[in-house]
Amino acid sequence: MTAKTETMTDVAREAGTSPGIRRFQMNIPEAELVELRRRIKATRWPEKEVVADDTQGVQLATIQKLASYWGSEYDWRKVEARLKALPHFITEIDGLDIHFIHVKSKEKDALPLIVTHGWPGSIIEQLKIIEPLTNPTAHGGSAADAFDVVIPSMPGYGFSGKPTTNGWSPERIARAWATLMERLGYQRYVAQGGDWGAVIVDTMGVQAPPGLLGIHTNMAGAIPAELNAAAFAGAEPPPGLDEEEKRSFEHVSFFYKHGLGYALEMGNRPQTLYGIEDSPVGLAAWIIDHDIWTYRQIARVFDGGTEGFTRDDILDNITLYWLTKTGVSSARLYWEYHGAFFAPKGVKIPVVVSAFPEEICPIPRKWAEQAYPKLAYYKRHPAGAHFAAFEQPQALVDDSRAGFRSLR
């Protein structure tokens, strides 16, 4: 990948930014796409799993359907055109180039919002929510619902720089985001995130930089600490839980017991994962094995079913990882973090919680109220899983609008 970047005062002015912010344009040479297809077609496969279900990981039939589509019909240039239609920038923060999309609303009282993706996500996850957030009157909302949207790529992800030394933890990323918003001239803003993005917005909430009015999470760090520890240890649900709490406890227990393998590997041995850098199919399988509920959605999509995202959506995201060579650099974030994912972190500012039923842990309202003393808004949705912005964009946008209304 080569990236055309330029420092242009005009460009900065146009986007309401300060100098030090460079316009960014992606430019993926055709040769890289040809090479990707060549590698996909030359994949050497293992045999089929020895069970008739998904208990041994990504099934051969599913990944072969994905590879067959990826190596032939799939067209990266379509999403590239969508990306190029948006204003991209790069700015150096704390020694690292940070890439971000910055779309200002035409509504003058728009609320600035920084949206953070997770692993295995990227800015591509957020493409569907940009228009409804920035241009609400065209998407079922009113002018008072408008946001100015900032969507960064995390360090080591997408078009951001890759750290060459350790230390880029979620805490440091959270501080960098506050710097970014300040640099963009935003003195009052809110933050949204899921997956690592949720850890980062929780962390921003704890750091409470001046200007941060509130956060919106779709993976709330709100499992009571003792329950989280019990689930992690594989214990039975403790007595006294209501039905909803019990279901949530069992959901996350299943993940801890059967689904944590990839995260432990990345947390301890990110550098051992040469296969996600050298093999497109190795990367794709590693990415779609995120959690069993999302995996099943993806498997249904490649079986011809309809879900909140399409085959192209899934491959756009995976192809971005491939083209930016960020399999290993993105995995390092797990190594950098030593805190809890799902336990409360002590956020004292206002919080908006979206709870999706097939999230790793669908958080009951009761837990959200305990974890976030200033819970501004809570909504439990009837459908949806881990990648809400990608898969349930309308629900997520509705929650951002409704949840932040009282903070404007």
Partner: protein, 409 residues
Amino acid sequence: MTAKTETLRDAARKTGGGSDIRPFQVSFPEADLTDLRRRIKATRWPEQETVADFSQGVQLALTRKVAQYWATDYDWRKVEAKLNSYPNFLTEIDGLDIHFMHIRSKHENALPLIVTHGWPGSPIEQLKIIDPLTNPTAHGGSASDAFHVVIPSMAGYGFSGKPTTPGWDPARMARAWVELMKRLGYNRFAAQGGDWGGFVTNLMAQQAPPELIGIHVNFSGAAPPDVAKALQSGGPPPAGLSAEEQRAYDQMAFLYQHVPTQIMMAAHPQTLYGLADSPVALAAWMIDHDVASYGHIVKLFVDGEPYGDLTRDDILDNITLSWLTNTGVSSARLYVEYKGAFFNDYKISVPAAVSVFPEEVYQAPRSWTERSYRNLIHFNELPKGGHFAAWEQPQLFVNELRVGFKSLR
């Protein structure tokens, strides 16, 4: 891979086996080797790790050295010839083709011995011990030290078949090995193993078939129940541990926190498509076994420092075998098949010899070993050697087998 197999009653008779034992020769087409070198050279590399040590996994400088040697000077045909210099066979047991090497001693009172490798191992690990075990008089021993040696590839490993249904766990392999030994006409034999081979051997001893007269393990997995339970729950160690036991406990606790690669294989082996598609991915995954062996492999490839009897070729012979047989994923499945504990009180009554190597992932104390093996006939703590003892310290290893089994002959 193509494998020349033929059903030959003569060949079977020659090795004392039944008529359903087929001779086998290792013979990979040149195209497979060319494709391997092409893939290595076309590796798309990540950047260097962001730390100056091994704490993020297999370091880029090492994998690059491995890849460079692998794609240029390394010659698979040498070990292929070595493998073919011994009699290799296939036989179907319990619905699966099992590959094994079978080397009979010229000494008629030799003790039959089945030796089982582990992960990420293969029969290549055992090549150095074959001659000293079968022909002791040429290797510092006496005729009464002789063994008839049987070295199988585990199910899903090397040249054995790959199971297509679940159930090939270490206990089933142990039963298959007994059937194999009986099929070869051995009604009185001993068994040896390390790593998964240690589990297979321990489970065989628990099954206690009448033909099994004793075992030797260089990875015992011995631990009292309260220790095993504390480890699994991540709790504090039981009270009253001696200094030696506390040290072992700490090593095991470290291991429980540092085996993500094994946990991944136990959870979702099928997700590891990179192991089938990328030689460098497979090499890194196999090299990332334990801290001590990793450290030696770095010194061997990067600094040119010796690692016992292990050479760069040895390391790559084993990895190349896994590549050529495409057994990265099928071998990983053993972790999902095994439902037992990794450290256990095995309550074994069959006579057992145990060797403790100082760089093994833990040093089983004699107290725990005596408890796990009620009839401990030999216990020795060696001055050097690690997890791949037969491969790295073949002389010490062979001596352990000679001394360990002496009382059973």
